[in-house]
């Protein structure tokens, strides 16, 4: 097979072309798109969304869905901010506690899903309510304002138009890519998603793999939540409320098979990039902000329809 053919058949190449064409078109139509400030703002949102999308992607890999991605992220965010404000916990310890919230949330999702055999959709719908309820119970819907300056300045810091946040999520993105491609656990996730019975009969400890996927998902959501705190400069209880759509849209646009067994980290990241681009275009071209959701919805449908053609019957 020629190199070109090979490129065309990857999940990411078409997306990269689409993104490049879109970016050039937008840059020509609206030069303010290329202003340093606009790029910085866009990349900041991009940084968070990558983690949100990857958090969902690892669950899609095992053929499940996680509705509680945003709720875990939100709970981790307010815990991270809360322990720093109320108990003056040092930042590294607060990060660790935030991560533990993600681990705990993921463990709960994974263990309940595996032990009860219930559909993850139902389980995470329930835990979504539990996590969100805990969040509101702790914060009484009021933000934590006293965020250490180091966290705030990290959230604002940039290198040219690259926000520091992007370095964090970029590094994590690469780690997840390596994990899915080249680690035993990553392979096992895809095997379980590809054919649960075959995976089980091949000696893969399915229960452990399912729990591991949920723990990883929880941790990624928690990191996204903590980065959101740094970006917003406060521990806002509503962090995570609007993550659900993008968490599904990006992996699906990126070529993930919703039944499990196939995901693409590069595709997912490009999926996020395309969504960001469309968002930005609609803002720059002064389109009604409510139309953004509409376009996103249409994009998901188009991506799902497209993936039907790619999969062999």
């Amino acid at each position: 097979m020629s190199a070109t053919m090979h490129l065309l058949r990857t999940d990411w190449f078409g997306l990269l072309v689409a993104f490049a064409v879109g970016a050039v078109a937008l840059g020509l139509a609206q030069p303010s798109f290329l202003s340093t400030y606009n790029l910085y703002v866009m990349l900041t949102a991009f940084s968070l969304s990558i983690l949100i999308a990857l958090s969902q992607m690892v669950i899609v890999a095992i053929g499940q869905l996680n509705l509680s991605v945003g709720a875990i992220g939100g709970l981790a965010a307010i815990t991270f901010a809360g322990v720093m404000e109320v108990w003056s916990v040092p930042i590294p310890v607060a990060i660790l506690i935030g991560l533990l919230v993600g681990v705990a949330g993921g463990t709960l999702n994974g263990v309940v899903t595996h032990v009860t055999g219930l559909n993850a959709f139902v389980v995470t719908l329930a835990t979504l309510a539990i996590f969100k309820g805990t969040n509101i119970g702790i914060t009484e819907a009021q933000p934590f304002y006293e965020i250490p300056d180091a966290v705030k300045s990290f959230g604002n810091a940039r290198f040219g138009f690259f926000p520091y946040l992007l370095f964090v999520s970029g590094a994590i993105g690469i780690a997840v890519w390596v994990f899915m491609r080249r680690s035993v656990l990553g392979r096992q996730l895809l095997a379980v998603g590809g054919n649960l019975n075959a995976a089980k009969l091949s000696g893969i400890p399915v229960g452990r793999v399912v729990v591991a996927a949920h723990v990883l998902s929880g941790m990624l959501a928690a990191v996204a939540g903590m980065l959101a705190v740094a970006r917003l400069q406060l521990g806002q209880p509503t962090i995570g409320d609007d993550w659900l759509i993008i968490s599904f849209a990006a992996p699906v646009i990126g070529g993930a098979v919703l039944a499990g067994g196939h995901v693409s980290v590069a595709g997912t990241v490009l999926g996020v990039a395309i969504i960001m681009l469309i968002n930005n275009a609609l803002v720059l071209l002064n389109v009604d902000p409510y139309a953004v959701q509409l376009v996103l919805g249409a994009l998901i449908l188009a991506a799902v329809a497209l993936s039907r053609f790619r999969e062999p019957a």
């Binding site: 680690s183 656990l185 392979r187 590809g194 019975n197 009969l201 000696g203 893969i204 400890p205 098979v257």
Partner: protein, 503 residues
């Protein structure tokens, strides 16, 4: 009179495979036409063209003399073509009657009239001798019954062209007889029937004419079966003579590697005693539903052993999961259902084989380089002569025989000490079958303890050293294999029927 269906010069390509290349077939009304060929020869593709699932890239299809172009299975149905596919196409939670009548549920005042659904379904079940309650959900039926429901459904459509793809694969000889009687009646009423089977005896018993495919081309097109004999047909299918393998009796003297002592399981097995020695092939024979696959699952930890003792290598073993069976006791299981239990179809050949050894070949921190996988997999892919363009090829694009080789290769790669092989050659072409038999034999010769589950009596007699007979989740006899087909099958059936009579 024009023929019912005339296909001329049909070709169809899929990514990386020319599935059909200039294939022709003429099917007359009022005849039963056999479509034969090894796995991967293109039979399924041809059937899918006839039933409107695929459209040919080139060539013509005439139905009753009219060129036809179907835009989907529904279209084909509307033209009086119905099919029983190899894969189950039933809705498990729906009742037998609903499944049969699904396409055209009778209604009264806009609501489904279940009384009429039952009545209508019974009309189509009766000729097949299918005497079951039409209200029970299909998922509670045995595989054989499901197959019959599927056939009843196809018949109910009152088709003028009926395609049957391996309809007898899972039904009993008695049910097969009933089916054949019915098919002959339909033929006499002018229905055109296309019959696909790996069982050549059935073909000669039932069919009038034959089309043989080999590597996507016609080895013969619509030839009368008169004047052909079995060896002619086999030669057409595989392109050379069939070589019968006669093995000599041998006795394994190794230590018992796997032993079951008075084992009961929560699936319903009772008092199971069984022993497999190193280098020995023990056959586990029984009718469909005798509990053989279930016993295998219990041994590998996928079902629970409730009492008795499982010993591996002479020591009591506690196998609570397949992972334990593989890593601690080195027991492997080649599933009878490679699509649902054996392989991850969308994944590559390399991953499918390496899945059992990932843990073993991984470096620190679970780091798994491609090269390690390739090195672990390649020798077995070569040894089994798996025909694939590359290790990266998705398994779903391989032929059935090559898929089966992949599902065996992964256990060879795992280097297991005990290998349970469940119906290794069902739906497999003759060449691959002979090859797999050779392989199982070699594995035993090199010291692997093999438990062979098979419903194929000649296969059992050709391969097994000892044959353990099961019926109704119990062991009902154990025989040394004399390799005399007639004697052995009589002895085995006697054991099975003794139990059946008592029950």
């Amino acid at each position: 009179m024009t023929a019912k269906l005339v296909i001329t010069g049909a070709s169809k390509a899929f990514p990386g495979v020319q599935a059909l290349d200039d294939v022709s077939l003429t099917l007359e009304a009022g005849s039963i036409h056999a479509l034969l060929g090894e796995n991967g020869a293109g039979k399924s593709t041809l059937i899918k063209i006839i039933t409107g699932v695929h459209r040919p890239d080139s060539g013509t299809v005439l139905l009753d003399g009219e060129p036809m172009q179907f835009f989907g299975p529904h279209d084909a149905l509307a033209h009086g073509i119905s099919a029983v596919h190899q894969e189950r196409n039933l809705i498990p939670r729906f009742s037998v009657a609903e499944n049969i009548m699904l396409e055209r549920l009778p209604t009264r005042a806009g609501l489904v009239d279940y009384g009429e659904v039952r009545e209508a379904a019974r009309r189509f079940m009766a000729p097949l001798g299918l005497e079951i309650d039409p209200d029970i959900p299909v998922r509670n039926l045995s595989v054989a019954r499901m197959q019959l429901v599927e056939i009843a459904k196809a018949l109910s459509l009152d088709a003028r062209l009926l395609v049957l793809d391996e309809p007898t694969a899972s039904i009993t000889p008695h049910e097969t007889e009933t089916l054949f009687r019915l098919l002959r009646e339909l033929r006499d009423k002018g229905v055109a029937i296309l019959f696909v089977s790996h069982k050549l005896d059935e073909v000669f018993e039932l069919c009038d004419s034959v089309t043989v495919l080999r590597d996507g081309r016609n080895a013969c097109a619509s030839r009368s079966l008169n004047g052909l004999d079995r060896s002619d047909v086999v030669r057409l299918m595989i392109g050379r003579d069939e070589t019968a393998v006669r093995r000599t009796e041998r006795t394994a003297t190794g230590e018992p590697v796997l032993a079951l002592r008075d084992v009961a399981t929560d699936l319903g097995h009772r008092n199971i005693d069984l022993e497999v020695r190193a280098g020995e092939i023990v056959g586990l024979y029984g009718l469909v539903g005798a509990g053989r696959t279930e016993l295998a699952k219990a041994v590998i930890g996928a079902a629970k052993v409730t009492s008795g003792e499982v010993q591996v290598g002479g020591r009591s073993a506690r196998i609570d999961s397949v992972a334990t069976a593989l890593s601690r006791y080195r027991i492997g299981y080649v599933s009878e259902d490679r699509k649902h239990e054996g392989l991850i179809l969308m994944h590559s050949v390399r991953r499918n084989v390496a899945v059992t050894v990932w843990r073993r070949i991984a470096r620190a921190l679970g780091w798994l380089p491609d090269r390690a996988e390739r090195d672990a997999v390649t020798p077995y892919i070569e040894r089994l002569q798996v025909r694939t363009p590359s290790l990266a090829q998705p398994v779903s694009l391989l032929s059935g025989g090559n898929q089966q080789k992949v599902s065996v290769a992964k256990w060879l790669a795992a280097q297991v000490r005990v290998l349970i092989v469940d119906e290794p050659t069902v739906g497999i072409d003759i060449q691959t079958k002979v090859y797999l038999h050779e392989l199982i034999h070699e594995l035993a010769a090199s010291g692997t303890a093999i438990l062979l589950i098979s419903s194929d009596m000649p296969e059992m007699i050709s391969l097994a050293d000892r044959i353990v007979v099961m019926a109704d989740f119990e062991v009902v006899g154990e025989l040394d294999n004399t390799r005399d087909a007639a004697d052995m099958s009589e002895a085995i059936m006697a054991r099975i029927h003794k139990v059946a009579e008592v029950a």
